[in-house]
Symmetry: C2
């Protein structure tokens, strides 16, 4: 595309395309197959090149670096200072005040922009005893503080994973009639989740979680939030007989078929606290400096409501309370793991789904705060840390935990410096477990419900969905199908539909690749999309097409049909001055070809010749060029004029074969 040069010095304008040199298309310097495989393997599985720090270091230093790689605590602990500890202490106590109410009823923080909420509340979402939620806020944070590479991540149970675990296991076992078996399945599923997460990290298959696109997650979270909120209507309205199903229709019908069970005391209490929580969040969002308001609101609600119930003896007036909780730390649970073949399928499936979902939240949260502070988080290493944390958790009466977005945001805002804040939180939870449990006996369930609803409402991100609609209709379709699928079918199927759609879209982009007809921008050697650039002009006698995808088995048939139609169209155009003589195929945007792609190019060369057209390929990339050369050794289909470096050179060199043609091209290009 170099120098279309007009001599101006002599006051004379020479019209025409002057190519200073016609450049040869080169192949990349030869490389052995093994080297190429190595490179490709590295690019696929080690794009972040985790070992670059080790290069050129003395062996002793390598050992230290290796240990630091495996145990990031060795990286920061030696330089840990008192001022760091002060910050971590404040942050740790803050997230503990969130964690304690959250913990008892495993609930939701995948939220992208809202911090408030908590609950003595998470485990119940997973149909587990409240105490399991507290256990899960004690051991896993300790494990993470040793293995985790994020400085901001606060670890604990999260709502979406709790919800999915509860709903998937409930399909196999009824948690009310068989709570112990249910608990066993939960621990086993947690073990599988941990093993799956750690394996993803070790096998460096972390990119699997990338298939949950933002659009999928926006829809999924909104759907899950609605499902969760509806489930809370049981406690918010004080209904005793409630459906076991999750979908919208049975839940609503259950709510309205049991209006006689609604308890006005419960409803009043619930609505008041919900209003308080929503108000505090609203204020926090408006005035970011008052963020502590929404952070403190859940704990305050728990304390106030517990006091209220205790003083008014409200449990005798139709308000259900948590009841007695035993003091004591986590008991070992490895003997409760159940590998019975009846439930193995369920627990493995549950483990894999919750594992993926919780990883997505953990990694996304870690990356978000790392980028805010300008440090790097190694995704695959985080997966190993989270995985190990869950493996250890499953043996110490914990269920699935991960880095929780909302909790991490609070941690970050409260000024944490290192993973030490997790240790502080864990120790606070420990004190609670040992001494403060009896205080929660009078906590009313309705407040926990209010906390959960207040929390998950933040997950419904309407502006994000609207932006998706504005930017990309297909993404919006993915978003809506995950939303509607979750609401009307089931959590895992909604998710599966959305992921399936996203993958189908990628495949469709390859099977139906974009093809663009290019024209010359007058007065230059630039060739651009005729449709996009209105001043771009067709070059008479030339059809210039760019393919925008790898050429492979999945699209050669399509490309063939499409190019044939294009040539037909071109030939039947009414305003044509010149017969079509040359077909230029711009391969700049074709990263790879496979054997079908090569066959396609060879066949295209032959079939265009039959139509009296000459085919020229422009700017094949390294790999494509290499394969073309090798195919040419076998089939010998590339002529002298078959390869050019730029479209401009191809046009010049082809039209110069024919004086008349050249005149026309010149006058068309440079009037």
């Amino acid at each position: 595309m170099e120098g279309e040069c007009k001599r101006r010095g002599e006051g004379q304008v020479e019209i025409g395309v002057m190519m200073e040199a016609v450049h040869k298309v080169e192949a990349a310097p030869p490389q052995s197959t093994v080297d190429k495989m190595k490179l490709r393997f590295k690019e696929t599985f080690f794009p972040d090149d985790p070992f670059r720090r080790f290069k050129g270091q003395p062996p002793r230093r390598k050992w230290v670096l290796g240990a630091q790689y495996l145990f990031p605590i060795l990286d920061w602990a030696p330089n840990y200072s008192l001022s760091f500890f002060k910050s971590d202490l404040v942050a740790g106590l803050t997230i503990a005040s969130l964690a304690i109410p959250q913990a008892t009823r495993p609930l939701p923080p995948i939220s992208i922009s809202h911090l408030s909420f908590s609950g003595i509340s998470y485990a119940k979402l997973a149909n587990l005893p409240p105490i399991i939620g507290l256990y899960s806020s004690f051991v896993p944070p300790l494990v993470y503080s040793v293995l985790g590479s994020s400085r901001d991540l606060a670890v604990g149970p999260v709502s979406i994973a709790s919800l999915i675990m509860g709903s998937m296991l409930r399909q196999a076992v009824n948690p009310n009639t068989d709570p112990f078996l249910f608990l066993q399945l939960a621990f086993t599923a947690t073990l599988f989740a941990g093993i799956f997460q750690a394996s993803l990290g070790i096998l460096r298959l972390g990119f699997i979680i990338d298939f949950l696109s933002k659009a999928t997650l926006v829809g999924f979270m909104a759907g899950a939030a609605i499902i969760v909120s509806l489930q809370q209507l049981k406690n918010l309205l004080g209904i005793v007989h409630f459906t076991k199903k999750m979908a919208v229709v049975p839940v609503l019908s259950s709510v309205f078929h049991n209006t006689h069970e609604w308890s006005w005391q419960t409803v009043v209490m619930g609505i008041s606290f919900l209003a308080f929580l929503l108000l505090s969040r609203h204020v926090s969002i408006r005035r970011p400096k008052l963020f502590w308001l929404s952070v403190g609101a859940p704990l305050a609600s728990v304390i106030i409501s517990t006091l209220l119930v205790f003083l008014l003896k409200a449990q005798n007036h139709g308000i259900s309370i948590i009841g007695k909780l035993k003091c004591g730390l986590n008991r070992p649970s490895w003997d409760n793991l159940l590998f019975d073949s009846t439930y193995l399928g369920t627990t493995m499936k549950t483990g894999i789904v919750t594992g993926i979902i919780s990883l997505t939240e953990g990694i996304a949260s870690g990356r978000t705060f790392a980028s805010l502070r300008g440090y790097q988080v190694d995704g695959n290493k985080e997966m190993m840390a989270i995985g190990l944390m869950n493996i250890v958790g499953s043996c110490t009466s914990c269920y699935v935990t991960t880095g929780a977005f909302s909790r991490s945001a609070v941690n970050h805002n409260a000024g944490c410096k290192t993973a030490m804040s997790n240790v502080v939180m864990a120790l606070t939870v420990m004190v609670t477990l040992l001494f403060l449990m009896p205080l929660f006996a009078y906590t009313p369930n309705v407040v926990l419900a209010a906390i959960i609803i207040g929390a998950v409402i933040g997950l419904i991100d309407v502006p994000a969905a609207y932006n998706i609609w504005k930017l990309d209709k297909v993404d919006f379709l993915v978003c809506m199908s995950s939303f509607l699928g979750v609401i009307f079918i089931s959590v895992q199927e909604g998710l599966a539909i959305a992921v399936g759609l996203s993958i189908f879209r990628i495949l469709l982009q390859t099977t139906r690749p974009k093809m663009i007809a290019l024209g010359n921008i007058p007065g230059t050697n630039i060739y651009r999309d005729l449709h996009q650039y209105q001043d771009a002009k067709r070059v008479p006698g030339f059809l210039i097409l760019a393919v925008e995808a790898p050429i492979n088995f999945a699209n050669t048939t399509y490309l063939n049909e499409r190019i044939t139609r294009w040539i037909e169209n071109e030939n039947s155009m009414e305003d044509k001055e010149t017969n079509l003589q040359f077909l230029i195929l711009d391969l700049s945007a074709v990263p790879t070809v496979d054997t079908s792609g090569i066959s396609f190019l060879i066949d295209l060369k032959k079939s265009t010749e039959k139509h009296g057209l000459e085919l020229t390929l422009v700017n094949p990339m390294g790999e494509v060029m290499e394969k073309l050369q090798r195919a040419n050794e076998i089939h010998d289909f590339l002529g002298v004029n078959s390869l050019h470096l730029t479209i401009a050179e191809a046009v010049f060199s082809l039209s110069s074969q024919n004086k008349l043609q050249q005149q026309e091209v010149s006058s068309a290009l440079f009037i």
Copy 2:
């Protein structure tokens, strides 16, 4: 990329980048969402634009064209002439001589380059009574001659589909102990195959068969050929007790555990005829003019061997024969269709798999001969024709049929003009069915085995596999996994593994897109891959990267990591003269972005700014440009210098911000 111009007229060389004009990046002219959806829908499902013939025609003519579209026979029948009929008669009789021996034992012609073989032989591959094979060569060709748009395709049972049907149904029902139920399942599976094929055509989802790449098919056919040949050892060696399994290991162990059952008479006869058949094929390949030799050999073998057995009463000396076949045409079989829920899963699965496989052969054969003769075959219409043919077939005692490659090749070579040759073949088969069946009673099974082996050996295409190895190692992996999967696991699983691998490869190309660092080719405005073009030079202070894939949810994380690493590398290079100041991202090869991709670009802009880098996007395509604009309305992230039409313009305009920088760039570019 226009005019880097040196004034030469005055004998003075001015060093520097002279841009004649800086061009604006334009978006495509606005289009409503509905129009865009329409266009995309059309490109996806109607790439061949089947209705273009209807445009601007009077209504009456449209009716005629519509009828001709649905029934291609209306297209050619009115102009049918006697000379055409003479050609079709010869061709029809020739393929009938192939069809009759083939038919009785459903066997194999997906071969890409070998014509010879036949057999009273196909149906037995599918574990069906021989007569079903003849029936299937009578009705379906008649249906196809009305509906099919190919002039060369010869229709009938094919080996691969027969083989798959036999092996898949055998997993549910034993054909020896329960032959009638097996037959019912075969008809039902054929019905499902037909419905599936026709639906693919009607829904215009024909591209599904594109996912069977050439590499997959080469491996699959070789594997199937070996499986089929091994199955024939039963008849070739005269073994009575033979395994029911298909995989290599059990078959070979069955062969060598029953050596006492081998019958020398059978072995001698089998080897002799096999040698004769292979020799005739060898001669035909060497001297294409003698093609009739390999075409006639199977029928000759059948006749000679039948006579031999009849004269020598060889059936009493350990040679097994076909036995009596009843005369008479196809009986209706719609009352034999079985929709019992026990077998519904099996028949549907079998129908879909055989449907896809036989479509692949039919469409590929049709396209091959159409391109040889220079006419077009409409893939989706062919699917409807083949589908209807199988639906009708399932009700008239036929099993799965399609356009057979080998038979079509013979048809083409014998000079057929229209689908009338299929009619001639069908009528010949009819005569055979009505009157000649008793003649086949003495045909020995061993000759059919020899014919099958002779046929399928041609399916093992070692040179094709070698070419795949030379061109593309991943394709070779796909090829080998389909080959080994078919041999050692099962036909359908081998195929599933190969297709899965191919799809995984496409996904991997999107999740791990190619990124290329570009450099300037001295003395020009061309920027090319620094690795591929050894004389391309880095531009000091600039990092110029091209992304070669759609930017979407599946690769934004990767791109982020990769670009970060690239910037780090660049900053730590030892021989750098200038600090990195600009990051140019060439989007020429990015056909689409989704919402995640847009977020990625916005985040990249912000994070590069934090590193003191300026990000510029070059040449976004129509859709990308449009989404960038819309995102900019919301987030306002594009600055004055954020978009350029070419890399050269971006380099010029950015470096001109800074005089010093410009000097360095100029001297670096034009020494």
